[in-house]
Symmetry: C2
């Protein structure tokens, strides 16, 4: 079901706001939004609701919301928890369009609170009202003066405006980030804390911001997503509108997840799955508060680089080296300027460092014009996608600052299509001077690098983003009914239907049949005992390799049958007669891992020691295309082995990628019907010779 | 040769300073140190030297240094490059104790400059004068007002004082770091930029600071070390005096090293070797300017934690989770408080988060006393080694700040033996209030984590640091003379002398001898053709495995001899008859890698695919102890294989560690005589069954 973003207009851009539990005391929770709205000159209508007062701050106060002689877009409920239910009912009666519930004492406390929360959300839903909260700090929208929050962060200052919209699953975290950003003169378009998410969740807000004209970048703090598909749909909407989404999700480690469990009560989904789906759906994951703020800010001010080539200008050789280290470690490159450009630089300053990073040296203090001359000489060739200028502590001294700004401004204007980041120590005043000239400024090299890294991520993602037609689609899948465990034979038959190549094999229920099958397939063959009750065949000696002739076939058949019949509770389904594959293939595994939040993930890796010792596996949310599957294989640390390490020929990577993609489409179609699929090993032959699944096991949720 | 730190007293703590090229104009290079010295009330005597003036700033000015009627501890030379040589000669004649040369135009420019630089350094050396520079920014010592620098960073402000001493191989980088730190109200004890290091280098400064009573922490910016042994000796001195050394070294990547090459002209030594020796000698490597400053600052103010158990107190669940993530990812732990303590917390605040991270929630705003109560309840049991308190944006608001400070101060006093880090947004004024109370304050969670990580590193290093007697010592080694390439047979004979177990083997020069040896060793045997000219025996078919009997021995012997004799330029040394080892051992390699800066490193890893595909190797500077060797093995990603992965028995790790240690002692003793040693494979058998070197190749610098 597509997300209905238009329903959130009444919440984020209301023309009328009722504050239920309003107070004249700006220190009280019910007093703050009223004060903030008035002080920030909200242009719509404000209706305080409180039976105790006739008037608050010059506004008529109503005893209850039903008495307001106007339509209400947004009702803010600031009442004790036990009064909320009745208040929501009145809102429903009044026909308000949206509600924010500040009050706590619901799902975050106990089961009874959770029940009440569901009741409230149910009433809202039944009346077509969208509800934010309960237990939430509210929101603000700096574009229209909507300050529907009781956060103390607005007490002493008005937010700066920008094109950044920020949705936070934690009010305290959001307030901290907001305040830290403000200390660096960074503003916001919207801020919303989603509290208990009984109705409106982070995905709703992302989707709303994705189509909001005052939003260029979406910042999102996540503790846990309940509805994975909806969240990804919201990310997709943002990506389609080219609005970078920057996510900070906590709970990376077991310890963090344990802390999250005690904090939020419940939190499902493996962190590595979040990590993967964020990347797959084009959200950039920041790991620290500083990275979060830097990247969001950078995305809001800078164009995306069209490639990874960075020109670095520096007054310190040391910082130049450091930038070269950090940029290349983060996937960016520092190509050298052409010979003639280097010569031009040498002509300007004989002892300049004319390799990239380009070192003007401290001579810049004596010849300030060198900055513009150097940058122009280097950038004019159009071979750089981004530029960084490190200027030491220039920004702290008015005279050097004035000597640099005109050059930088001219360069930024001339090469406006590439991001230009200036690094210099600065104060509030110098930052303003940079910003007034449209120049982008940070304090240290790390910030510049992490911003360029993120911009580069978004550029690549948008460039590679398939349109809807080219995207992988789930297959319509007929899931076998009945048994919950499929034998190898049944598993492979099912997989083969979806174009996944498996070993040539036939099931024999008698020794004679086994011999006939073996003859047809050709010796040597493999015999495997089939029983739905026995998952680990090898442990019981049910796998017999390299059967060379008919006599041996008969003997081993009988041995296998006997072993199954002697196993308590095991049903004998027959013996699988299978071609014996050449031993020089690379053994991979492909599997399905169902995440409780994001659904079926396809996992692959090289078998044996690589997964056991190095934990070398990669995953994607199913379905994926062949291109994506090959990209996935390239991410394996052991990818060299598929390329033909140790003198072996390169493997058929294309065929392997095709199988992974087909499998992923089937998996996505089967959805929650599949509990587990494990194809292990799948033999990958030399280039052009394909792949074959040698063993497979499927368990279903039947 | 031990570093003579007392020679640097005259430089860092002079009683008399001559400024050669002094000027009254504080904008000029020769004017700045004079201005800084006077303005910062240097208590010693200042002698301007300049033939153009009779007096400068109220001080008598001398025409040349020899005319000064006083002993000179420090002469600062601020003259054009071409005048420096003559000036140094005069200083030598005068008998000054130390010199700083600001002037550039030496080794950093061309070969002629390098030659002049060496001449100057030679004169100084001959006269027992220590010289800093040339091409250097100078130094300052805030403890005694010695401001012997022309850096503009002191123009508008006096440095804060602290116990941090900072040596930088780059003036521009150092100035930037200094200024950034100062913006965060962080001061320094000493600052010194070493310029071209013609005499005094970074190691000298580290060693000096190691014994300086005004230094608690040593910060060091490195582009490249010329004398590795000396540098490590200085690190060792600092470690013995328990003074943390924090190093920022650039040139981590090939691109960075390339940039460093063009910047400094030359830079040898692999970065991974720096990385390893820093760790091995107890220097903490910071990778960014922020980390560098944070860690240095933390080390200067906080006690070391005695272990890795951290108690986290937070007003935001989200930040708590984030801290739990980051702390555990960095080797720290968050154990839970005991049941009874959790109960006490619940009694104080029923809906508090009583698991670690401990969440006081926003209720702290209403009940400020909760902070002290919670921290005391949790820390009283003595089960935590460090504490972090996250207080949101408290530090920005005077009323909340005043409500928190007394609690924090009381806690810090009560648990003064563990580091306590408060995280809150703050301004200059609130920072001062924290510092005045001896409280340690940072702005964001990342800072707290990186500081604790570093403190934990130093604590573990000091705890594990062997005293001189327990340290591994180089063996006295007799290096074979003559040939530069030793055959396998010669290589193993040499290794065996130092207690390294090798395969049983004998050299045969005739087929009869080969048969006799094989009979003695026992069939099956291995035959290997020996020729110093043939390094890759297998490629030429000179290795014959599984020789079962005498007949085969004779045939293969002749075949091998023929092949060597048919190889142009190859001399036949005989055929090595060797025991055939059981095939189920784990194959490791142990090798020597000689670093141009730090000397012989011992390298080890699991052979085959692990090193080829995963590049899974570890190294240490030789010599190392058995304990260190085992620690080294544990760092291998593939260590599980030695522990007995895939159903195999655990390997004889102790025996392997012993061999690595013995090898490292021999290697350290051989020093530069050894070009390369490669023991590959060394077979590691099951626990108790030892190891054996199956093949080895040594090349010498003969």
């Amino acid at each position: 079901m597509p997300i209905q973003t238009n329903e959130l207009h009444a919440l984020f851009d209301p023309e009328s706001i009722a504050i239920i539990g309003a107070s004249a005391d700006a220190k009280r929770i019910g007093g703050r939004p009223l004060k903030y709205l008035q002080q920030n000159r909200f242009k719509g209508r404000i209706y305080p609701v409180n039976p105790k007062y006739g008037e608050i701050n010059g506004l008529k106060c109503y005893a209850d919301i039903t008495q307001i002689p106007d339509e209400i877009d947004l009702a803010i409920i600031s009442l004790p928890g036990q009064a909320v239910l009745e208040s929501v009912k009145q809102c429903a009666q009044k026909g308000v369009r949206s509600i924010i519930v500040f009050s706590s004492g619901f799902g975050e406390v106990d089961d009874e609170g959770k029940r009440q929360q569901e009741e409230i959300a149910g009433i809202a839903r039944a009346h077509g009202i969208r509800l934010l909260g309960p237990n939430c700090l509210g929101l603000f929208n700096t574009n229209n003066g909507v300050f529907a929050t009781f956060s103390t962060i607005l007490e002493s200052q008005t937010p700066y405006r920008s094109k950044i919209s920020f949705v936070s699953q934690s009010g305290a975290f959001g307030s901290y980030v907001y305040t830290l950003a403000r200390q660096h003169q960074i503003g916001f378009s919207h801020f919303v804390a989603t509290g208990n998410e009984s109705d409106i969740d982070a995905a709703d807000c992302i989707a709303y911001f994705a189509q909001d004209e005052n939003t260029d970048v979406i910042a999102c703090y996540v503790e846990g997503v309940k509805n994975g598909e909806k969240f990804l749909q919201a990310l997709r909407m943002a990506a389609e509108n080219r609005k970078p989404v920057v996510v900070l999700k906590v709970g990376r480690t077991d310890e963090g997840r344990q802390a999250a469990m005690s904090h939020t009560g419940s939190l499902a989904g493996a962190d590595e799955v979040y990590d993967e789906v964020f990347r797959q759906y084009g959200a950039y994951r920041a790991n620290t508060v500083e990275e979060f703020i830097d990247v969001v800010y950078g995305c809001s001010k800078l164009p995306l680089p069209k490639g990874e080539r960075v020109a670095v200008f520096t007054v310190s050789g040391g910082i130049g080296i450091m930038l070269a280290d950090a940029l290349t470690e983060n996937g960016l490159r520092l190509p050298q300027p052409p010979e003639d450009v280097q010569q031009r630089l040498k002509d300007l300053l004989p002892y300049a460092g004319v390799n990239n990073p380009i070192d003007t040296t401290a001579q810049l203090n004596v010849q300030p014009e060198l900055l513009g001359q150097f940058m122009e000489a280097v950038l004019d060739g159009g071979i750089y996608d981004a530029a960084i200028a490190f200027l030491g502590f220039t920004g702290l001294y008015s005279h050097t600052l004035q000597a640099r700004l005109p050059s930088l401004e001219q360069i930024a204007r001339r090469y406006g299509n590439i991001p230009l980041i200036t690094i210099t120590l600065h104060d509030e005043n110098s930052k303003k001077q940079f910003e007034d000239r449209g120049l982008f400024l940070v304090e240290n090299p790390t910030q510049a690098v992490r911003i360029l890294k993120a911009l580069h991520f978004f550029n690549r993602f948008y460039a590679d983003m398939p349109d809807h037609r080219a995207m992988a689609q789930p297959k319509i899948v007929a899931v076998p009914s009945g048994a919950s465990v499929l034998t190898e034979f049944e598993s492979k038959k099912w997989l083969a239907q979806y174009g996944i190549p498996v070993t040539r094999e036939k099931l024999a229920t008698t020794a004679e049949e086994a011999v006939a099958h073996a003859r047809e397939i050709g010796f040597p063959v493999v015999l495997k005992g089939m029983s739905p009750q026995i998952l680990h065949k090898s442990d019981l000696g049910l796998v017999q390799l390299r059967i060379q002739n008919e006599l041996e076939t008969v003997a081993k058949f009988e041995e296998i049958r006997r072993r199954i019949e002697q196993t308590e509770g095991a049903q004998f389904d027959g013996v699988l007669v299978q071609e014996m594959l050449a031993g020089d293939a690379v053994e991979m595994f492909i599997g399905a891992k169902r995440d409780p939040v994001f659904g079926q993930m396809v996992v692959t890796g090289i078998g044996g020691i690589f997964i056991e010792v190095f934990n070398d596996a990669v995953m994607r949310k199913a379905p994926i295309t062949v291109e994506e599957a090959v990209k996935m294989l390239r991410e394996l640390r052991g990818f060299k082995i598929l390329q033909g390490a140790r003198g072996k020929p390169p493997c058929d990577i294309e065929a392997l990628g095709t199988v992974i993609a087909r499998f992923s489409e089937m998996l996505a179609g089967a959805g929650s019907a599949v509990r587990e699929i494990d194809m292990n090993p799948i033999m990958v032959f030399a280039n052009g010779q394909g792949v074959k699944v040698a063993d497979a096991l499927i368990t279903l949720n039947n």
